[in-house]
């Protein structure tokens, strides 16, 4: 029986996937449920499972190549079955072609010599003639063998060709005034770009800023941390506070859904985490119902998994409101871009000792800027302002957290 292996939607938002690595190879026997390949989706590395038993007869999308969800990536069949009807002439795109509103194209694979044609090693004219050393060097240096002219016998690509290709690309910035490097977008970077432009342009943003006195929060934090156990960060305190405040201000805990606005009964708080090539927002579910300590523990665990690209889709989707913190970079205040369909995001700045008038005298007190971005279609000025006021009051009177 012939089974087509297609790029599956491995996360709710996935539109295309990049084959990070085939774990099974052509000729391997596979059982339904075996992991065939690791696929880099828009947010994480996922596993592509086999859906039937048989022999993995043909791989059509090689390591490093990207293809849209639904496209044919491999064929499972019996050992002697004729698969030419499915495979055709070994086209890279599979029979389904491209679809989807954004017209994904099959990106050039980052890893060389991994084209579908060479994966089988049998396609006429598709094989790249290169010495083993040249292949190895190209692989390590990220040189695409298909773009290298071979100077060896019969046009074979040899070491000096790789050295020349690498030198040619390295030489560019040195000679001219400008230097640049075109880096193919990772799936994550593409998602960020798409989702954030989707946000800023069509979402009518407005911004509210409030300066919060953090002296008491800091005292509370010191006292709590002195008790031992999981260390509480300022971020944890703000997260817990925002979650509690959202419970009181349901108008800000909402999604814009074009024809409806969805107001949530539960608070699922997204917390932006910087990862190697972008940012990802894991979600603390029911943050309002969790203790400060639980929030601290969960945030730490999620952030770690996010950096390792190990988050499951449900761990980074479904937030009702989000936080973004650049305080640790010494940023005093900034505006964050809303993650649609959420209606608001709070930008947390650095806590800075500042001389201020306090109870009739000038005192140096630790203060923090909070800036809220609001989707005006959901949140009006006064609505947002009232929410932010609650957040501020709670932070300035941390006992309110247990209220």
């Amino acid at each position: 029986m012939i089974t087509k292996v297609v790029m599956e939607a491995l996360s709710p938002t996935m539109e295309e996937g990049r084959i990070a690595q085939w774990l099974k190879h052509e000729g391997d026997a596979v059982k339904s449920g075996d992991v065939l390949a690791e696929v880099e989706t828009d947010k994480a590395i996922m596993e592509l499972p086999a859906r039937s038993d048989g022999i993995l007869r043909k791989i059509l999308v090689g390591d490093g190549a990207t293809t849209a969800v639904g496209n044919l990536v491999a064929v499972i069949a019996d050992a002697d079955e004729d698969i030419s009807g499915v495979v055709g002439n070994g086209g890279e795109k599979g029979e389904k072609g491209e679809e989807g509103e954004e017209g994904q194209t099959v990106a050039a694979p980052a890893a060389p010599a991994a084209s579908a044609a060479s994966a089988g090693g049998e396609a006429e004219g598709g094989r790249i003639k290169a010495s083993p050393l040249a292949r190895r060097m190209a692989g390590e240096q990220g040189v695409d063998l298909r773009r290298v002219d071979g100077s060896g016998p019969g046009g074979r690509i040899v070491k000096r060709d790789i050295a020349a290709a690498a030198a040619a690309s390295a030489a560019l910035p040195v000679g001219g005034a400008e230097g640049w490097e075109d880096v193919p977008l990772t799936q994550l970077r593409k998602t960020i770009a798409r989702r954030l432009t989707q946000s800023l342009a069509p979402v009518p943003h407005f911004f509210l800023t409030s300066i919060v006195d953090m002296e008491r929060a800091a005292e509370a934090r010191e006292a709590l941390n002195a008790l031992g156990g999981e260390k509480i960060s300022f971020n944890d305190i703000v997260a817990k506070t925002v979650a509690m405040a959202l419970r009181q201000h349901r108008a800000c805990n909402a999604w814009w859904q074009e024809s409806t606005i969805r107001y949530f009964h539960d608070v699922h708080l997204g917390i932006a985490v910087a990862v190697d090539d972008g940012l990802i927002t894991p979600v603390i579910r029911h943050a309002d119902r969790k203790s400060l300590r639980e929030i601290a523990i969960e945030t730490r665990a999620l952030a770690e998994r996010a950096r390792a690209r190990k988050l499951a889709p449900e761990e980074y989707t479904g937030a009702t409101f989000s936080l973004s913190n650049l305080g640790m970079f010494g940023i005093d205040a900034f505006t964050a871009v809303i993650n649609p369909p959420e209606a608001g995001i709070l930008a947390i700045g650095a806590i800075t000792p500042t001389p201020v008038a306090h109870e009739g005298a000038v005192q140096v007190r630790r203060r923090m800027h909070l800036t809220m971005s609001c989707d005006h279609r959901v949140i009006d000025g006064a609505t947002g302002a009232r929410f932010l006021q609650t957040v501020r009051q709670m932070l300035e009177h941390p006992l309110a957290l247990v209220w």
Binding site: S131, P132, L133, A134, M137, E140
Partner: protein, 464 residues
């Protein structure tokens, strides 16, 4: 008389005659001018007769030192260098005849006599002038030389070169060999086996100075075991040449000693045949080291004149010259020949055990600050070597840490000369140590040590 050819080659050594064959194969009218015997130094007074003598030396060694252990009883053994020499002459003759036959077979015209280059791709031989319509190829080779500065001019009786050593009727009672490169090493082996008291003198700090230090050390040990006096880092400062003996003054660490021997064999350096050939007048320039100056396509500074072989630069080896001959013939015929990789020419010394190498020594890797890994496998751990009582030696492979490129390979083994080509092919095709190791090696063979050394460089050696 004047006659025209497409290509005229001056000199019928391994560079010239191979160039002639390839030219003829490519349909060019070809002539070779040779003043002595076809085959040049290599066939007549070089590679071939010396190997014939080394074979005799090896058998002499086996009969005297190994036969009894193998259950073979001989009567009293007598050694007659003269007989071995005569056989070596026959072998050389046969080879030279073979080259003559090849010239006929490929319809190459052989012109006997001394050629003098003239401008305009012409060569005069006595009163005749030959014109090359496409190209002249200079392949005049090299010859022995002494060191007159220290009183060691070759007198052909007590101070001799290989030209005489190859024709001696008996092995000298004692001989000092000046120079422990390939030629000096080989004659030390030969004369030692035929009963001479041999002193091997090298001015550089170790014998086989161009080889990997591990190879030098192994050979020094092996030679000392056989009773050869090995003196490295020693300079000959003067010589008293008498009728029947020579006294050398040698200096090491500031101390001067004297060594008296029946004969001195000069085995350090060769003179290039670039004089009295009309080269300068015809516009063929030399480098400061005395070689003919050539470009990447082996063209000299004179229009339509190429140079190949020993005269065209180092390494001065027969197989290097032959390859240049092929390259030039193809270039003249308008082809684009495979460029010669001068860093991938095997170098072999045919003493016992043999030393063969290709690429960089470990010292060179260090000097160039390369990031490398060494894999080494001793023949004491190789079954075939033990069976044949040839456990002296090793295979050493140096690979680049990052890409596993084979940077250099060094073999000391009874048949190192035959083993090195696996690595020559690997390097020419840019295989890495992994491809070497992946190929199944027959058991039991010395070549298994190559696969093991490759594995060792990867940290996965099996049999040590």
């Amino acid at each position: 008389m004047s006659k025209t050819f497409d290509v005229i080659i001056l000199g019928g050594g391994p560079a010239g005659y191979v160039c002639a064959i390839r030219s003829a194969q490519l349909g060019l009218q070809t002539a070779v001018i040779e003043r002595e015997k076809l085959g040049g130094v290599c066939v007549n007074v070089g590679c071939i007769p010396s190997k014939a003598l080394l074979h005799a030396a090896h058998v002499a060694h086996l009969v005297q030192h190994e036969a009894a252990d193998l259950g073979i009883t001989t009567g009293p053994v007598t050694l007659d260098y003269g007989v071995a020499m005569k056989r070596s002459r026959q072998v050389a003759e046969q080879n030279s005849k073979g080259v003559e036959f090849l010239m006929k077979k490929h319809k190459v015209t052989v012109i006997r006599g001394t050629g003098v280059l003239q401008t305009g791709r012409k060569i005069a031989v006595d009163k005749d002038v030959y014109v090359a319509s496409k190209a002249v190829v200079i392949a005049t080779g090299s010859r022995v030389k002494g060191v007159p500065q220290i009183g060691l001019d070759i007198n052909k009786t007590t101070v001799i070169s290989t030209d005489e050593a190859l024709f001696l009727e008996r092995a000298p009672t004692s001989v000092a060999i000046v120079g422990a490169g390939a030629v000096g090493m080989e004659f030390a082996d030969i004369f030692n086996a035929f009963g001479s008291k041999v002193t091997l003198i090298e001015v550089l700090p170790r014998i086989l100075p161009l080889e990997d230090a591990d190879a030098s050390a192994t050979l020094a040990r092996s030679y000392k075991k056989r009773g050869i006096t090995v003196r490295a880092g020693v300079k000959v400062t003067g010589a008293k040449v008498a009728k029947t003996e020579v006294t050398l003054e040698v200096e090491s660490n500031g101390k001067t000693e004297s060594v008296t021997v029946e004969k001195v064999l000069m085995a350090a350096g060769r003179a290039l045949n670039v004089e009295h050939n009309g080269f300068e007048a015809a516009g063929v320039k030399l480098t400061d080291r005395g070689f003919i100056q050539v470009d990447a396509n082996l063209r000299t500074t004179a229009d339509g004149v190429y140079a190949i072989g020993d005269v065209a630069g180092p390494p001065m080896l027969a197989h290097k010259g032959s390859r240049e001959g092929v390259f030039v013939a193809e270039h003249i015929a308008g082809h684009t020949p495979h460029p010669i990789r001068y860093d991938n020419i095997p170098s072999v010394t045919y003493c016992h055990p043999e030393v063969a190498s290709i690429g960089l020594t470990e010292e060179a890797c260090k000097e160039q600050k390369l990031d490398y890994q060494v894999g080494k496998f001793p023949l004491t751990a190789n079954g075939r070597a033990r069976a044949a009582n040839e456990t002296d030696g090793f295979v050493k492979i140096i690979r680049d840490t990052k890409y596993s490129e084979i940077l250099g390979a060094h073999i000391v083994a009874a048949h190192a000369s035959e083993m090195i080509h696996e690595l020559a092919v690997a390097r020419e095709n840019e295989y890495t140590v992994e491809e070497i190791e992946l190929a199944v090696h027959a058991h039991p063979t010395l070549s298994e040590a190559i696969a093991e050394a490759a594995l060792d460089s990867l940290g996965r050696v099996m049999h040590t």
